[in-house]
Symmetry: D2
Subunit: 350 residues, 4 copies
């Protein structure tokens, strides 16, 4: 009800703040006998913290996941799995000057309205730090999906208006921006450098592809697979738009173009993005998320303090210029959580 | 779990099929002492069935809502409100030839995969007919929001590639396509006529505006107001994309452009679309939904039958050419349901 | 949230009032391909309305269940099943004198406190009439359990202090009081006759046995099978106590007596009542429910009116003397609903 | 769905095992601005670990509650509150000989059936250790109830067949068994000593009283306040029966005795136990729980090993002789959690 849980059968509850002890997740409903050890989390946690070169992620975080429960001798038991990631780099002092100002583009104002306070120390509960818990939970979801042959890949499709054109999915992990187009990746890096000098930041578009998803996942009416995916993705702080398959382009197509023909060998096209009537059709699931620029910038911005007096906000701390490389593993995690949940839900139809 | 319910406090469960007895909704959690009578439903039910002229909605439906429970002497009692809308126009014969064919662009194939059958009679549970129950539930949601001064307006922003430019919201109800631009509305009507002759259909974009929404609605993390709105809207059958505020345009803005300045008199712009960190900020909420073209067209389309043999699908029944005028009240209803739910949820913070 | 739903996978939502159009239930999560027709409901609905002789049920109700959705050609489709039972015998006039008085032992006072009104016409939402919808839902639950070889039997163990001793489960359906002891049944009938003359009413104890329940149903910690059964049974209006297995007697046993030995051929006793650690062990499930006497009696009782002035309540309408025969199929239904839900839940552990 | 969560608005999710890192709880939905510091937990955690003299609790546990999130400067923020209690005394070696044997009266057998394994090290997830997390969550619930003037008191009504008769609630905390009757308390201690010599254990009955509960808590139909209390109490491992008010005694009363008269000064009696129609009536809430004897005893018991071969179980570790003093704060905690949840739920009726 208070919104910290997601999923019905595979149910993830996150907790924690950016400047408290740490962040974590409790996963209830993970089946037993799945191998899981602290090492399984390392790769995805590191991907959320690229740190390659000057372009991204200046904050150093070493995110080690402690498994507090639910695993015995490296196997899940069926009991809830509690994961905890301690905050290590939590110098709150740079935030002191923000104590009384609402940061534009952040949730300070709305939290203050709702709760009567806001966490000036980097956002607290509504910091991007919370997504570390999602990535950790996504690793567990992945353990359920992997044996089914499912493959989830997210990447930067567009950043600062520069769009990947020549796609080479093998290049993604080589790009510090998780961009599958080598040339576009370089241009994006340059754009980040230039924008940094301007004291500004950039948004972008992420694309997520799911190969090998079994047909039949998703519930009719409200819990459609695409509806739950849209919620999962929109629940990531900086996302402002979600598309499935043709997405907004579908609005300009005619049915004779947009309908995917069905042939004895499968669908003849995939404008639907792998989902029909809210249920996966076995084809590739294709999603896109629009990500707004990170609001904390060093340019001066107009705002007010708690009493409503006008003020100027100038952010001086370390901050990413673009959310989009760090958000990639978060989006992957959310998609994995939705799929693991719907996969287990599908088992209730005997 | 099986996906027929939406909302936590104001909880709507729909039931029914296009060619059964009817469709309905049970609403649990509506407060008592709200005036509600069968007449309250007429306008919205009729808007879902525009029927003005030749361009839309050739199927005649008179959708009278029966209130089976939860209301005594025209006041809600706090008990669940059951609404029922009988099907009146359910000649299943034209569908007989579809009995063995999967209709491209529809959920026949995925339902068959999931449930081992599909409802050839116009979609059954996954027919657009189900949305009549949503519109009825939206009327009850509206009864909660109206006294707060909330105003929800949806309209056709784009249809068949023709975009409304000169917006006059007062014109919406005059336009058979709920389009706020008189000239664009006429051009959209022409496009529909032409497309009908081609035996094809059109998609479009709907825009939804919410004025007067109180600040503070929405829960952090997963049940963000925008996340729940995205789910609600994406759960409407033909929607393939959802945007909040600047939406996909935000991906191309810099933070200095996209951040809404905060002034003593409110926000200086509204790229955020009225939601920050998942919580309403008191500004106008702005959403857009991409709607795909209605898949049932009279042009021949490639498909297969249940046994996988190739076949040609030619749809000959009555069918809308564009989903977008009829979907407008459905989108409004979903937004109202989300807002009523989050409004009541916000009461749990004393 | 507002409490009209029960179950997670097999989810029952009831609606309706005693003196409105009728009562009903929506079941979401019933698997497809289960045979279900209106005739399936007749026996259980009739058992809730024994009407044999003068001792019980003077109100004539013919409870025909309409299946409004979710069934096509007598098979469930996987879509929500809406059931509706029209009220036929709803003369509200005898209740007019109750319009301003809180009936002792009923929920008038607490509803008035909570909702600002109460339904003087026989209880409205909190009338026993609501249980007709539970019995109908129980029939659908039963369709899931029956093929597994599960058998649910409830009966009157005690009524007005008279206890069944010589148990003959085959006699249950012969007894107008569903009592398995012929002699006790006759004595109970006499007690009812005598109590009726006194203008009073009687309570009793029902016992429920479940044979053939698969081992492994129930979730650890909060959703233990016995915890959910206790909630299900206590949610029936007049129940004031629930026991599993040895129940309160277990408080007086030593572990050497109360522990059920485990042998190569199964458990050596069944003090546990078929549930260990909240999970079914494959043995017979044994439950007991304490039922209070029906509060509406013709003896004068002290009460107050809405303004708090003292008044005398004398109930003159038709009313059962003992809840316990009519409550038997309701308790069976609730047990079936819990078991069907937990059976489907158990499928999520692959 | 997997059963580790309880409550709708005030939602408690527990995790952890007896012989892992520790146990914990995440509470989502606690309002902001409630004072909460680690010291608040000490008293209740200590009460769960009486350790007074030889009669009870030979295992030494110092249960310090770490508050991992949701609290800033000793005030709740509205964010989820994660609590963690490290296991300190987890020598698993004595349990090694149990590795292959199902302990009678425990959940080893049913867990093995459900999950394909069981935790021989003292029960793991189904150990009474899990209740430490409930007690910690109960402290937070209490912080919501205390300002309302609610008072929850649980005590030992009966132990080993010895019943408290001369009640003095002020004596409860003086009694090592939380028994309000000085003489009965001494006799219970003797019974425990004697039973220990026999290598056996004892059960009992706990009684819980709630003073000052506001009228109007509880939802009609399924989520009745007494139904949720019954579930909460039955979800505590060793409970086999629950009563409200007159409980099983109500089955032997007539309505003229059992109905509580309503007077201008309140109810004339309280057989209902403070709840009518599932909603609190403002009177004292009265509950009783039947607790079975602790199954682990040093007498030899018949059992089988994992392969089904007969074996003898002799428990040699430290173990309580009676669950009932340690269970008292657990039952209090569960009642507090239910009341806090229903109190916040009641706010959704404006």
């Amino acid at each position: 009800m208070a919104g910290s849980s997601f999923g019905e059968v595979f149910r993830v509850t996150t907790f924690g703040e950016s400047h408290g002890d740490g962040v974590g997740a409790v996963i209830d409903g993970c089946p037993p006998w799945i191998s899981l050890s602290p090492g399984d989390f390392m790769q995805d946690m590191a991907r959320r913290r690229p740190g390659t070169g000057s372009v991204v992620t200046q904050r150093s975080e070493e995110d080690r996941v402690e498994v507090l429960s639910g695993v015995f001798e490296d196997l899940t038991t069926g009991a809830p799995i509690a994961l905890f990631i301690r905050n290590r780099d939590v110098d709150s002092r740079p935030y002191e000057i923000l104590r009384r100002l609402f940061r534009p583009g952040h949730a300070d104002y709305t939290y203050f309205t709702k709760y009567g306070h806001f966490d000036f120390r980097g956002g607290g509960r509504y910091s991007a730090r919370e997504t570390a818990a999602r990535v950790a939970a996504g690793v567990v979801a992945w353990k359920i999906l992997e044996p089914l042959g499912v493959k989830v890949t997210a990447y930067t499709l567009e950043l600062g208006g520069i769009r990947a054109e020549r796609m080479n999915l093998d290049f993604i992990e080589e790009s510090p921006l998780y961009c599958p187009d080598r040339i576009a990746s370089q241009r994006m890096e340059e754009a980040i450098s230039n924008t940094k000098k301007e004291g500004d930041s950039l948004g972008g578009i992420a694309e997520i592809r799911v190969k090998g998803c079994p047909a039949g996942l998703g519930e009719p009416v409200f819990d459609k697979l695409d509806a739950d995916l849209a919620k999962a993705i929109m629940s990531v702080g900086t996302v402002k738009g979600v598309e499935i398959g043709a997405g907004f382009e579908a609005a300009r197509l005619k049915a004779s173009e947009n309908n995917d023909p069905i042939t004895p060998n499968g669908f003849g096209s995939n404008w639907a993005g792998g989902i029909l009537g809210g249920i996966s059709n076995g084809d590739e699931i294709l999603l896109r998320a629009a990500v707004k620029p990170i609001p904390s910038i060093s340019q001066g911005q107009d705002t007010v303090d708690r009493e409503g007096h006008p003020a100027k906000m100038i952010f001086t701390g370390r901050q990413d210029i673009a959310p989009i490389p760090r958000i990639i593993p978060v989006l992957e995690a959310m998609v994995k959580i939705v799929l693991a949940d719907h996969y287990l839900r599908s088992k209730t139809i005997p």
